[in-house]
Amino acid sequence: MVSISTRVGKRKIEEPVMLASGILDETSGSILRSLESGAGISVTKSIGTEERKGYSTPIVSVIKTGMLNAVGLANPGIDAFLEEFTEVEKKDRIAVSIFGKDSEEFSYLAKRVEEAGFGIVELNLSCPHVQGFGSEVGQDPELVEDIIAEIRGKTNLQIWAKLTPNVTDLIEIARAAEKADAYVLINTLKATGVDIYSRNFLLSNKIGGYSGPGIKPVALRAVYDVFRETGKDIIGVGGISDWSDAIEFFLLGAKAVQVGTGIYYEDYAIFRKINEGISNYLEQEKFSSLDEIIGLMVRK
């Protein structure tokens, strides 16, 4: 088998497919299950300073081209989260996603994460459906810069900045986040859905985030644009449901990928399937390592 190991920031990662934040990563049992299923790294659900119940159901809706969700940043809060994870092994393969309203909250959370023994923090600067958080923060370049500088100053964590595609100028935001070790692109698209027989929104929150196959073309464009402009490490996410999708991201510059909604289609087997598919592709196409194809279409 051709090696598929990769490197993101200072982290070597054996399998380049990760579990995306928010999908089966609220409970420690599920995080471990994804790691055992072949995820190189698993990112936790986004954790905030306080416990949040999230929105009432329906919080997800499967549509033809993917999925809509408005979970509402449900999370147990940093205290309960860390308590649950105290005894958990493989912390080196868990990235903790955090969200906050300002640099103070973010850096507080990051410090707690570091103290608890984790090495990577993913910043949710991009969730599109909760007021005051996520993309509302991530659309403001100064705030983004500030948050990353704070965390950088106060911790030794690897910082992954997860950006929103719901902006006029993604490059501007990427530049603001350039002190991060890597970009994670993209979070969901702001979207909605309707049931015409009840004449109600598909989600209790009305507006939600759109994920799955339908957003892949937008995610690929984001990765391409940001890689071309910044050359920095990128983790591609959005609409990956098989190995060929992953290859597309690598060719445009992603050093690793994350999978969320794909799990709905393929269940936990998706991690191994993609890992194997990548390896087979490299072999068949006569490449000797994953590195050789990363950014191949941008460099040439």
Partner: protein
């Protein structure tokens, strides 16, 4: 999202109702639907019959079940599914041990395969769908055996090849602890946990890495044995883990 017109709605006991509606989908005993009450919420419900359309049987707890109980024949019921893994087919002598509305989930299996039914409830009024040869228990002794359904089961002491258990988790834990090992491989538990998505992506129903909605709701004794949270800890809506309190 699918919808169908309600064909039949019946009151079965105190705050217990069943609703029958046409459905084109196929379902197997043990599977469930996500029932959407637009403007209120979406809740998981076992399919209590899949012979002539679908039927759900529920107790009124809060807003969603209240609204459902007030619906009329001809109204639209919205649902998605069926979801989840069904009960395996029974082998040999079969028992069903149900607590409260847990009977709803077992009903299609009982109708199809027969066997001994043990059913427990807090009180007489909460019993429903009774058949004259069911073994009955009530906490308050208002009907049948006084005590819980596990006590009842053990007191009768019959031996079975296959046992299905569905009810409050505390009751199932009780069964697991006291009778489970004896029957080992052939006991199946149908779990109820807080569910948000119903399709295995939100993690809200997970118990030690098993998703009740997708890996379950039916689990074998061996699977349950891998869950140290079973009957001990549960998750709140935020995902916070807490000790389960007997309700």
């Amino acid at each position: 999202m699918n919808f169908s017109e309600i064909k039949e709605i019946n009151s079965l006991g105190r705050n217990i109702f069943s609703i029958r509606f046409n459905a084109l989908e196929e379902a197997m005993p043990g599977q469930f639907l996500m029932i959407w009450v637009p403007g209120i919420k979406e809740v998981p419900m076992s399919i209590s019959s899949m012979d002539n359309g679908f039927e759900i049987t529920f107790k009124v707890y809060g807003e969603a079940t209240k609204k459902l109980s007030e619906m009329n024949v001809g109204d639209r019921i919205f649902y998605r599914g069926p979801y989840g893994k069904p009960y395996p087919e029974p082998v040999g002598k079969t028992a069903y041990v149900a607590g409260g509305t847990g009977l709803a989930s077992l009903k299609p299996l009982i109708n199809k395969h027969g066997g001994d039914v043990y059913i427990g409830a807090r009180t007489k009024d909460e019993l429903f769908l009774l058949d004259s040869n069911f073994h009955i228990s009530t906490d308050d002794g208002s009907m049948g055996f006084q005590g819980n359904v596990v006590d009842l089961f053990l007191s009768i002491g019959k031996v079975y090849d296959t046992i299905y258990v569905c009810g409050p988790e505390i009751m199932m834990k009780n069964f697991y602890d006291r009778a489970g090992r004896k029957y080992g491989k052939n006991v199946y538990f149908s779990l109820e946990r807080l569910m948000k998505c119903g399709i295995g992506i939100c993690d809200s129903c997970s118990i030690n890495g098993f998703r009740v909605c997708r890996d379950g709701p039916v689990f074998s004794y061996d699977e349950i044995s891998m869950m140290d949270e079973f009957g001990v800890k549960r998750r709140t809506e935020s995902g916070k883990i807490e000790l389960m309190i007997k309700r």
